[in-house]
């Protein structure tokens, strides 16, 4: 029951959506639309999962009063303040807007921008051309960077043309091949999920 019911639900839902799309059965259209709308509502509930998990984990740390509990306190306080200001004061309120613009936005940008430094460090330490194919990879990347930056065109007018050729010819061929292969893979993976062959999303079964 614990295994069969979710697999059966997957199969029925998937079948309805596929039959509606490919065979255009009028009787199923309303049901297919309704199921998709239900998916939106379930996805909305899923947004709170991370917060619940964080509350439980960091709540336990605060209760244990270990070394990291001050950070856990900061996390939970930030979570609760943001949630309450958004829900009870409003998403267009000054408080929520302040939190979004002065905390969320800059910190999200910082953590992503840090990868620029890691990339610079990796360029210096790890991007070694150990064989001809690695040379091809590095060369393509370097030529693209030179072609796309204004300085490249100043150094030599040919760099943008080479960058365009790499992007619009070789990259096009490779990306198209990867895209077609991905499409085949998507179909295969989708059918395996809907047929219940792939059940990795349903957990280990130890609950």
């Amino acid at each position: 029951m614990k295994r069969i019911l979710p697999v059966a639900i997957s199969a029925v839902v998937g079948l309805i959506l596929l039959v509606d799309y490919f065979l255009k059965v009028p009787a199923l259209k309303q049901t297919a639309t309704e199921i998709q709308d239900w998916g939106l509502i379930v996805a909305a509930f899923a947004l709170a999962l991370a917060a619940v998990n964080l509350l439980l984990i960091h709540g336990k740390r605060i209760a244990k009063k270990d070394r990291q509990s001050i950070h856990s306190f900061i996390l939970i306080a930030a979570l609760l303040v943001t949630t309450f200001s958004g829900i009870f004061i409003g998403t267009r309120s000054g408080v929520f807007d302040f939190i979004f613009r002065s905390v969320f936005t800059p910190l999200a940008a910082v953590f992503y921008a840090m990868t620029a430094f890691h990339l610079a460090s990796a360029s210096y330490r790890a991007f070694r051309a150990k064989n001809l194919q690695a040379v091809a990879l590095l060369l393509a990347g370097v030529l693209l960077m030179l072609g796309r930056a204004p300085i490249g065109e100043v150094i030599w007018k040919g760099f943008p043309k080479i960058a365009d050729w790499i992007t619009n010819v070789v990259n096009l061929a490779g990306s198209r091949g990867i895209l077609i292969s991905t499409a085949v893979g998507t179909v295969g993976a989708g059918l395996r999920i809907l047929a219940g062959i792939d059940r990795s999303h349903l957990g280990s079964g130890t609950e």
Partner: protein, 202 residues
């Protein structure tokens, strides 16, 4: 210097965030936890807004009781936190979401990605570029054939595919570096233009 408290707070947090690059420190860890808390709280607010608009509103204003079905399914996502013995019920809404996602991408991938890309791949071989594009696509596809034992022709295709994929990955690598540099420039504008005006505004 700016008098806007938003600029001050965001600039100071930015500098603390970047301090990790020089040495991990307690202030950085505090800011890291602050971000995770705010991000999680923000996501809850958006989820709450969606639930109010798509469940509470239709239920109370239009009497649409069918919205209770996905609402119950959504609630079942939290069962593992409520009861260990009923925790398996979480699989039901997960099965629904995954099935919808799989079916949606499956049905459109066939038309838009498979046929939609095969058609433009068949082009007249009247220029070197067109020959490279057609051959390049073919050898890349050869590289991803894992179900057939490679014969000499396929082996040539696979080798050719490796080269095309290397150049494609090189293009992605170059684009990735460009993207990351842009993000860092954005942070420099915040600190050195908006906060401490060392960079002139355009």
């Amino acid at each position: 210097m700016s008098a806007d408290p938003v600029i001050w707070v965001s600039s100071i947090l930015t500098i603390i965030g970047f301090s990790y690059l020089f040495k991990e420190n307690e202030l950085y860890r505090a800011v890291e936890h602050l971000y995770v808390g705010v991000a999680a709280g923000y996501t809850v607010v958006m989820g709450y807004t969606n639930v109010v608009n798509k469940v509470w509103g239709p239920l109370t204003k239009k009497g649409q009781y069918t919205v209770l079905i996905p609402a119950v399914l959504g609630f079942l996502l939290f069962m593992p936190y409520i009861s260990k013995s009923l925790g398996w019920l979480r699989r039901l809404p997960v099965a629904v979401i995954v099935a919808i996602g799989a079916a949606l991408s499956l049905r459109t991938a066939v038309v838009e990605q498979f046929i939609g890309q095969l058609r433009p791949a068949i082009i007249p071989l009247n220029s070197i570029n067109n020959v490279i594009i057609t051959l390049g696509t073919a050898v890349t596809l050869c590289y991803f054939i894992f179900t057939v034992k490679p014969n000499p022709v396929l082996k040539v295709g696979v080798e050719g595919g490796k080269w095309v994929i290397m150049v494609t990955l090189g293009a992605a690598f170059g684009a990735g570096i460009m993207g990351r540099i842009s993000l860092l420039i954005g942070r420099l504008f915040l600190v050195f233009q908006d906060w401490i005006p060392l960079i002139k505004k355009v």
